[in-house]
Amino acid sequence: MASFFNKGFGRKRESVSSERIPPGQYETRDFPVLTAGPTPRIPLTTWSFALEGLIETPIQWSWEQFNALPQQSFTNDIHCVTKWSKLDTHWEGVSIDTLLEHVNLKPEASHVMAYSYGDYTTNIPLDDLRHGKAFVGLRFEGQPLAPEHGGPARLVIPHLYFWKSAKWIKGLRFMEGDKPGFWERGGYSMYGDPWKEQRYRSDD
């Protein structure tokens, strides 16, 4: 029994898979949108994706080149810091491991700043992007990714709160040490583990 409880309050909907819902989250079936401002529109003719920073030779792909890279399907649960979780989302895209095969990282690279069209940034430890843990999503539920959900391409890191999954991704910058990105400068967690409920910087 909880030490504090609200009289008469109880769960309204039985969750079929409560062990997959992190603390403080609830399951939703639709796909809410959360962005700090308007949705940028990015013509595919000028779209590019780059790896830069602490690597031997920076590299950049055009939309065509990027789509020609080996793609995979991914099924993941995603967790937004505004409290919703969405189970079994289906994506297609390019694993970050695949991208990293094209470059030699300098040994001091430990963190990544993901940056986007529209100047959004977010920071992630390098290890959280490797070993199948993250990908650049191009298709969602069988359709090209819609602009309001980050299309044409978004970073997807399912094991961290979803703001780390930068929409409208433009590139990854490899850094020595950690630096706060957009929401992180505004007081959100540097890491964002939903299972530890690291929502705000003070939860780190």
Partner: protein, 246 residues
Amino acid sequence: MEKIQWQIARVKAIVQETPHVKTFTLHLPQWIPHLPGQHYDLRLTAEDGYQAERSYSIASPPEKTGEIDLTVELIEDGEVSSYLHEGIEPGDPLEVRGPIGGYFVWKDNMANEPLLLIAGGSGVVPLMAMLRHRAKIGAANPTTLLFSVRTADDAIYRDELEQLAKQDSQFELILTFTRKAPPGWTGYQRRVDQAMLTDVLKRFASHPNGFVCGPTLLVEQVANTLSDLGLPSTKIRTERFGPTGT
């Protein structure tokens, strides 16, 4: 940084704003001054330990010390909002933590710049905190609130907003009714669209700071249209309420 702690607030008063909206005044043992636009997280706990957490914007200005007002719309079948509406009475305890949020906030250094507020439904709540604070500090920046509501019954804070508009020549209130306008209404009676936003932007001599809040679809359309109309995207701050997905 110190953890933003959960604290047990007491419900001091409850006001029925509209048939579906109530304002809860909470007395906080550890009140921290907030910025208009910030929110609190509210957590309900069932006797068996089950918890549900939601965010609610602060409606009151930071000048109202020791307490906060949360204005909550009753969502049909909503787990938290329906409990707050039906299960909470003055004197009851409620667990909250905050203030939270550093981007969708109106800062005092914006007090000399024009301000454009656009709300749909309960999206007016954080904008109300901005307007209340603006009135308290006596700011004279040109300010417009474009407020989209379904019917006259749904216009939260309408009396207070009309009062503010009467007292302050620099503040203009524009209502639009999307379902049913009151009898004799000569103003807008449709969803916020490009023509309306063009009209509204014309009133400003320079780019205003834009704050857009409400259901996802409205926020999405308004923010994108403002950007099409030439308002720099760095001037458009948005907050989307709740799981109205696209």
